[in-house]
């Protein structure tokens, strides 16, 4: 409760203009994107990789890192395309196509660059990169940033925080599923059903963050 009061006090700073940078708003975005509106557990974005890559802790960490990386780049690219190209030309209705193409080519580009210059990182992240194009969390964060009319700074912060939130959920899930291997699960619930059940219980836990930062 204390932190709620603190944060709302910070948020209420008078004349926090939308251009200026406001620490309170920044904190609110970070907390909201990681915990309150966690991309996976509250907003239902990125469920496919969340279930697909959460069987082992190592791959969960790798996927998380790749998502944070691509999310930040994609936000940069989509923000620039939207505000520097689409808005001045009055073509904002093309934003969905533009964003998905930017994300797809970014992923391809990152894959090629990594393969060439950092084989170690490539071997760690490589297999996750193609999966990321169809990860709706990436497109989701780009669309959300535009909807919320965030400036570039806030957009980037939101993207990084959303990526961290995704990674957090993924790692927690991976840890739980490793334990689950040893548990006595009814045969009908084995595999996906019990994974969803665990996700539901985690989601209940994340409901407890409601009210922090807003």
């Amino acid at each position: 409760m204390n932190s709620t009061v603190l944060l709302s006090a910070l948020l209420a700073t008078p004349d926090s203009g939308s251009q200026g940078f406001d620490l309170g708003k920044m904190m609110a975005i970070i907390i909201a994107s990681i915990f309150v509106n966690n991309f996976v557990l509250a907003r239902f974005l990125g469920i496919c990789p969340f279930l697909g890559v959460s069987k082992e802790l190592d791959s969960a960490v790798g996927m998380g890192a790749a998502v944070i990386f691509v999310m930040t780049l994609a936000t940069l690219g989509s923000w620039a395309a939207y505000n520097l190209l689409l808005v001045p030309m009055g073509l904002t209705y093309l934003s969905t196509i533009a964003f998905i193409l930017i994300i797809a080519s970014l992923v391809q580009l990152v894959e090629m660059i990594l393969q060439k210059f950092s084989p170690a990182l490539y071997s760690a992240l490589g297999i996750f990169l193609p999966l990321i194009t169809t990860n709706c969390a990436i497109l989701g964060v780009a669309v959300l940033n535009i909807d919320e009319k965030y400036s570039l700074g806030y957009s980037l912060i939101n993207a990084i925080a959303a990526g961290i939130g995704f990674t957090l959920a993924l790692i927690l899930m991976a840890g739980l599923r490793q334990r689950l291997e040893l548990a006595d699960v009814p045969p009908a619930m084995k595999g996906k059903p019990v994974a969803f059940l665990v996700a539901g219980i985690m989601s209940i836990a994340f409901l407890g963050f409601a009210g922090l930062g807003g």
Binding site: A12, P14, S18, Y93, E148, A210
Partner: protein, 205 residues
């Protein structure tokens, strides 16, 4: 090389056809969307301001106020005020404004009609994407927002925050958001000198 050219050409062609098709549809739907938004806004203003002068058809003109603070900067919106009159009489009978507040999962927009003395006449939720079954119940007037009718800015405070309005059960955040967004809007208007002074202590209303 020829292969590269062919591939590039096909991609270009696909993108071009897509852009042209969308441009065409957009040129057809954009005016409808604009008209519908305007119509929805007009309807909302008419119904929210009804009690300012019951039975009359109302006119709305946007008002530019010098020295008006913007309490909604943190939601990246601005406070814009519309003055209400009942033609043919051109004198002002009240104001309508939209209050913005960050709720649990969306920016809640509330349209507020207020009399010349700063007393809330009526309110209406314009937009919300709060949790269905919880915060989304804010759209039902009896849950919270009809309690605002007849209040002034200083009375617009939840019981939990030291005021007299009970929040909706289980959704303090949404309730607080709406209440506070209305209060800050009224305060900004009052500071800008839009309300004729009223004896708040004596409660003559």
């Amino acid at each position: 090389m020829a292969d590269m050219l062919k591939v590039g050409l096909v991609l270009m062609l696909v993108a071009l056809v897509a852009a042209v098709a969308l441009g065409f549809v957009n040129s057809r739907t954009a005016p409808i969307i604009a008209i519908q938004k305007e119509l929805a806004k007009q309807n909302a203003m008419n119904s929210v301001a009804e009690n300012l002068s019951p039975g009359d058809s109302l006119a709305f003109d946007s008002l530019s106020v010098t020295g008006l603070k913007n309490p909604y900067a943190s939601c990246d919106n601005t406070l814009s005020i519309v003055q209400v009159s009942a033609p043919p009489d051109t004198s002002r009978i009240g104001y309508v404004f939209i209050a913005f507040g960050k709720g649990y999962s969306s920016t809640v927009q509330t349209m507020v009609a207020v009399g010349l003395e700063g007393v809330i006449s009526n309110t209406m939720i314009l937009f919300q994407q709060e949790t269905p079954g919880l915060g989304a119940n804010i759209v039902k007037p009896s849950k919270l927002i009809e309690k605002f009718n007849g209040l002034t800015s200083s009375e617009c405070l939840l019981t939990k925050d030291g005021g007299g309005i009970d929040a909706m059960t289980g959704c303090t955040i949404t309730s607080r958001t709406v209440t506070n967004s209305i209060r800050t809007g009224l305060e900004a208007m009052s500071e800008a000198g839009l309300f004729s002074s009223v004896d708040t202590e004596g409660g003559t209303e």
